[in-house]
């Protein structure tokens, strides 16, 4: 017993070091948010008393409430629309499966390999032509339908018993009500996984909002914190507090729904 334990010691040491290294920068962020810039630079690693001072400095410089609002609006809007559009498509691909639909799905999957860089400029031109620069529509629309989510829902529709659909049809239920009233309620874990992954991606997205939200008064939280570092003198306490505020929603979501998040990123390829 002691021999096997001893053999496992290097493993435990490696895990401890990796875990420590993974958590430390986040700990640094949290404590620095409560310290003055000078204390941050003096590597004070204990919670300080400058939290409120940092906060009032931050809101004096940047409209945090507005950025939080736009980040929430964009992330929630993307998530709700993505769940509806992709779940019904995944269901359609699987339950009403046909050769043509399988071919289309295979083609749509190719979109996963298109780098965002290669679509960014024409997307910008397109939304500019529509007069939708600075709008949430332009932020949300490109992120609503992803091959990944469609695949995720198609895979879970696969394990859904087809007999239930048949029975519901015999009972005279319409196809749409079968989907909403029978299929979706059984898909809770898939929906949770899809919601977590979509919300986090949307909340954290930086490049596209930066491109399409030309006017800073529509900026999201990642844009706000990125703009904070642009000044000549950085107030590190204020910066870390802003970074903490920008990270808090996704970190809380992660800690509460970690399993769903893990399923969300790995789900479609199992």
């Amino acid at each position: 017993m002691t021999k096997t334990q001893a053999r496992k010691l290097p493993g435990y040491i490696f895990l401890s070091l990796t875990a420590l290294a993974s958590v430390f920068p986040l700990y640094f962020m949290v404590v620095s948010a409560t310290n003055t810039s000078r204390d941050v630079l003096n590597s004070r690693l204990l919670p300080g008393t400058a939290l409120f001072e940092n906060f009032s400095k931050l809101v004096a410089q940047q409209d945090v409430a507005s950025a939080m609002w736009y980040s929430s609006l964009n992330a929630v809007g993307t998530t709700v629309l993505a769940l509806i559009v992709c779940s019904i498509a995944g269901y359609g691909f699987e339950v009403f499966h046909s050769r043509g639909k399988d071919r289309l799905m295979a083609f749509l999957l190719l979109a996963m390999m298109i780098p965002f860089a290669a679509t960014m400029i024409p997307l910008f031109q397109m939304f500019a032509d529509f007069g939708l620069v600075n709008s949430s529509v332009a932020v949300i629309l490109p992120a609503v339908a992803t091959p990944f989510l469609v695949l995720l829902f198609r895979q879970s529709a696969r394990s859904f018993p087809h007999e239930i659909v048949e029975a519901a049809r015999l009972d005279g239920l319409g196809e749409l009500s079968i989907f909403f009233r029978i299929f979706l309620p059984t898909m809770r874990s898939t929906l949770a996984a899809a919601a977590v992954i979509t919300f986090m991606t949307a909340w954290n997205n930086f490049l596209w909002p930066k491109v399409i939200l030309v006017n800073n008064s529509y900026q999201t939280m990642p844009m706000l914190i990125s703009n904070l570092r642009a000044g000549y003198v950085t107030d590190y306490g204020v910066l870390m507090l802003a970074v903490l505020l920008a990270s808090l929603p996704t970190m809380v979501l992660f800690l509460v729904l970690q399993r769903a998040f893990a399923e969300g990123i790995t789900g479609a390829i199992k």
């Binding site: 493993g11 990796t18 993974s22 958590v23 920068p25 986040l26 640094f28 941050v40 630079l41 003096n42 559009v85 019904i88 498509a89 269901y91 359609g92 339950v95 009403f96 499966h97 399988d102 289309l104 979109a111 390999m113 298109i114 780098p115 860089a117 290669a118 679509t119 960014m120 400029i121 024409p122 031109q125 629309l141 490109p142 339908a145 992803t146 091959p147 469609v150 695949l151 696969r158 087809h162 954290n204 930086f206 490049l207 491109v211 990642p222 914190i225 904070l228 590190y236 910066l239 870390m240 970074v243 990270s247 996704t250 970190m251 992660f254 800690l255 893990a262 990123i265 390829i269 199992k270």
Partner: protein, 319 residues
């Protein structure tokens, strides 16, 4: 993978042995109607994917053959003018080099570390398993901008990392981490490793859970050491997942933007700038040139496609 599954799933086929023509006609109508319903269900997603991904991709190809400032764009003469210009653009070449340095150093280290971690965590007798997994996976919850700024703060001239190094007497004077080429690249690589190792570990953990635990037990009984078991039993079964994570990480690294923008601002003098960062600069800053930017974006697209094809080829060969 998907095709195989679909072949094994039994489906309710239309009843071919139905003798009465009238009922057959009715059934056919029903099948058709259901088929149509299916199409209606998937049209919103399919249309959006086509409209937001494939259509702009082809637009970018056309755009890459045009030159001009702002919205006044005309076809270039010769048509490949922008591409020709790219090949003599020293900054572009530098950013390609930078991106590939990140790719070549970071991705292998990250994937190997993630594999080792996943293998350690898959041990049934491991203590505090949930704690380890949560801690190592946690960086994946933070946005790329957020962690870039945390790293920027920690690696500031008078920041935490230099304080520690000075305190340990490892250096005599603070290192200008973000002001020198090599150290700036090092910090970006370190940041990427920090952010993505746990993320990839979760993919391997998911794959390991599908591996029959008894095959590992059998190897152990046969006298294989833990490394031999890992190398000869675990790795071959994880191959599809290793291929997938390699393609995903390559794809992501080639498109790196947030770190370059926020952590080093591409500096000093473009030596840590990534291709996407340069693309943004060409397309949306100073004198925006959409034609040139589109050509640059197509080079990124081709690199992603070629590298994915190469990796799939290598992945097949080891069979």
């Amino acid at each position: 993978m998907a095709e195989q599954r679909f072949a094994t799933v039994p489906r309710t086929a239309p009843d071919a042995a139905d003798p009465t023509p009238a009922s057959r006609r009715r059934r056919f109508g029903l099948e058709q109607r259901r088929n149509l319903t299916g199409w209606i269900f998937l049209v919103p997603a399919a249309a959006l994917i086509l409209w937001m991904n494939f259509y702009p991709m082809f637009q970018a190809l056309i755009l890459s053959l045009k030159t001009g400032r702002g919205t006044r764009l005309n076809f270039a003469d010769p048509l490949w003018f922008n591409y020709e210009r790219l090949f003599s653009d020293e900054i572009f070449k530098l950013t390609v080099g930078n991106t590939f340095i990140y790719l070549a150093i970071q991705v292998p280290i990250m994937l190997v570390t993630a594999l080792v971690l996943a293998n350690l965590l898959n041990d049934k007798n491991l203590r505090f398993k949930g704690l380890w997994r949560t801690a190592i996976f946690l960086p994946a919850a933070v946005s790329l901008v957020s962690y870039s700024l945390v790293f920027r703060t920690m690696f500031a001239n008078d920041g935490f990392v230099n304080d520690v190094l000075l305190w340990l007497n490892l250096v005599d004077s603070p290192i200008n981490w973000l002001g020198q080429t090599d150290t700036a690249r090092f910090v970006i690589i370190l940041g990427l490793l920090w952010r993505w190792t746990g993320y990839n570990m979760v993919f391997y953990l998911a794959a390991l859970q599908n591996i029959d635990y008894s095959s590992l037990e059998a190897a152990k009984i046969d006298g294989a050491g833990s490394f031999a078991t890992f190398w000869y039993v675990t790795i071959p079964q994880l191959k599809p997942m290793i291929l997938l994570t390699a393609i995903m990480s390559t794809n992501g690294t080639i498109q790196l933007f947030d770190e370059s923008w926020n952590l080093t601002q591409g500096g000093p003098a473009y030596t840590s700038m990534t291709m996407s960062h340069y693309l943004f600069e060409v397309s949306f800053q100073r004198n925006p040139n959409f034609g040139y930017g589109a050509a640059l974006s197509y080079v990124i697209l081709i690199m992603v496609a070629v590298l994915a094809a190469v990796q799939m080829k290598i992945g097949d060969k080891r069979d």
